[in-house]
Symmetry: C2
Subunit: 390 residues, 2 copies
Amino acid sequence: SPANGNGMTLPSFPSDHVLNLEQGDPTVFESYWRKMGDKCTMVISGSELMSYISDFTSVCWFLEPALEAAVRRFHRTVGNAVVDGDRHIVVGTGSTQLYQAALYALTSPGRSEPVSVVSAAPYYSSYPDETDYLCSALYKWTGDAYAFNKTRHGPYIEVVNTPNNPDGTLREAVVKNRSDQGKLIHDLAYYWPQYTPITRPADHDIMYFTFSKSTGHAGSRIGWAIVKDREVARKMSKFVELSSLGVSKDSQQRAAKIMGVICDGYENCKSTDNSELFFDHCHQIMGNRWERLRKVVEQSEVFSLPNYPKKYCIFFGDSVEPYPAFAWMEAEEDVDTEKVLRGQIKVQGRTGRRFGVDQRYVRISMLSREDVFNHFLERLSTITSVTNGH
Amino acid sequence: SPANGNGMTLPSFPSDHVLNLEQGDPTVFESYWRKMGDKCTMVISGSELMSYISDFTSVCWFLEPALEAAVRRFHRTVGNAVVDGDRHIVVGTGSTQLYQAALYALTSPGRSEPVSVVSAAPYYSSYPDETDYLCSALYKWTGDAYAFNKTRHGPYIEVVNTPNNPDGTLREAVVKNRSDQGKLIHDLAYYWPQYTPITRPADHDIMYFTFSKSTGHAGSRIGWAIVKDREVARKMSKFVELSSLGVSKDSQQRAAKIMGVICDGYENCKSTDNSELFFDHCHQIMGNRWERLRKVVEQSEVFSLPNYPKKYCIFFGDSVEPYPAFAWMEAEEDVDTEKVLRGQIKVQGRTGRRFGVDQRYVRISMLSREDVFNHFLERLSTITSVTNGH
């Protein structure tokens, strides 16, 4: 029987059962979609979506026109990205593939040294491996952007992840005064109203989003980039072509449908009570989780959490608090927090070391199913002191 | 409106409309699936398949158990591959991703030179680009395996594509006497009964297949590898994780369903007339196309086609002729056949140069929709002489 690490098939959680909160698996949103019933049901007949090709006249020839339209409408509805005025859309097999597509598009063969790829620590733990696993001569992971800014030289690509995974902070590029030596990639996976106030439509050269974190459909592996320069969009599409000869059309159509249902909801809402609409509902869930987590963490006096300033959100039309997708927990110096959690309460997070910082930090997913989250809080409340996990 | 290069939306084919027969887009099989009606209809509710994870206890943690079971059953039904006795299944975003996963699995960082990747010419035109686009230090495209066998040394990976794209021949490894310097990848995309007699269950170390060519569902981007060694399967899965954090679950489930319908058909058939079952029906379509093509080619006296020996097919229980997915057309020396076809009859094929051989060869897809194929034959019959396309 399937084992997702969180015991879908288990009726309860015995205390020796490890709670897996290491990945950001967005199953928190399942219950919302379950309530939506048939509205989002995707039906594909056996003879549909068989061709490799969506539109040979497009820069991204494997992008389903329905998804392209849905993506533009989705961003117009939310207001979190500029999609009008000659912006190109490139679809990818999740944002993972688009990150690599962007690296490919921003580099060229024939340099004596690979281009440095940097991101400010703590940075998303997958960037180093996703950059270096093929030992490319085009680009090379060079680590913390702050360190690069101080001591290193040469051409570089800086990945700006905002709000940032793992720590939820808002980010801007940190490498300064390098004239035209640097290029930027904006990873906006978490720039959605349930996680963070939408302060303005993002308008960067290359920015990408993902179905996984926007609506919670990680299993569909759909990401999309919004790209200003046509040639960059063409090279990113070429990368996806060489990497996987396109992107699942079944999932592209499903993503288009689900985005459409969300947009319909906001367009058709007559009342001032939007609490059953997607972002409102999920913002509430996230707020509830963060409130409960902060209470437990305060009582324990062992860990601390970052504080995030309220900002005015143009989507909600109100000043709102950020509710990041991950809890970035910090313990005292010298404590290996991940080991403590794993050892004392059988909770699996991801250590700060994977994000380029200290082991006293641990990243915990806030996106698990409700019962897993409840058990996590229950167990966390039992910790009253920590000893070094070594 | 969508443009697939073959005028889905056009009511007819004016003679100046280019017929795109360059890709192997398997739309020939659409009509079969249309006739199957609701049997293969996939229904996915809004809350299903949301998690990244399928089974954390599996070597390939993002492989849907339903697809794994369907793949094994499919091969048992067809008899074209050994899937029992501890074979591991790795799913990929099409076989394109699995080819690269295999290269990654068979190499390691830290060598002074990248491992040579070779395949006997004419080889699949995408191997060179898919091998070299990231300028990996792990492996490097080295071209024709025959040339490598004669003159080059060192560690290598040979890709054996059988039946071979573009020329439909049956292949075995050609690099000889290198003891343990070489590793093999078997690309069996076309080892299905509609294209070639199934002579035995293939049983290689690493072999992969694709949904695109087996059933015609290219838009779903589903491929699978059958791997003997657990560590190789683990590394291939790691590649897919780093490349795209898994494979669309929507498409995995759809593939499982469609494979199941095919297998059900063969299991439940009571009569001796199987002509409405998938492989029987498609074998008939391919046979019909090949017969008509050969007639036109013979009459033109300008081109020639390979001849393929009949073999006993364990699936059909009869001696059958191969009907490759591509026509590998040859003209006289010095003629640029692709340019001739494009110039004289507005048919777009792919030149032999892309496959590592001479420009007098051109590859033409045999898998287009019926109307496109009919127009192709009509136009081809008008060619009575060729002049050099230069």
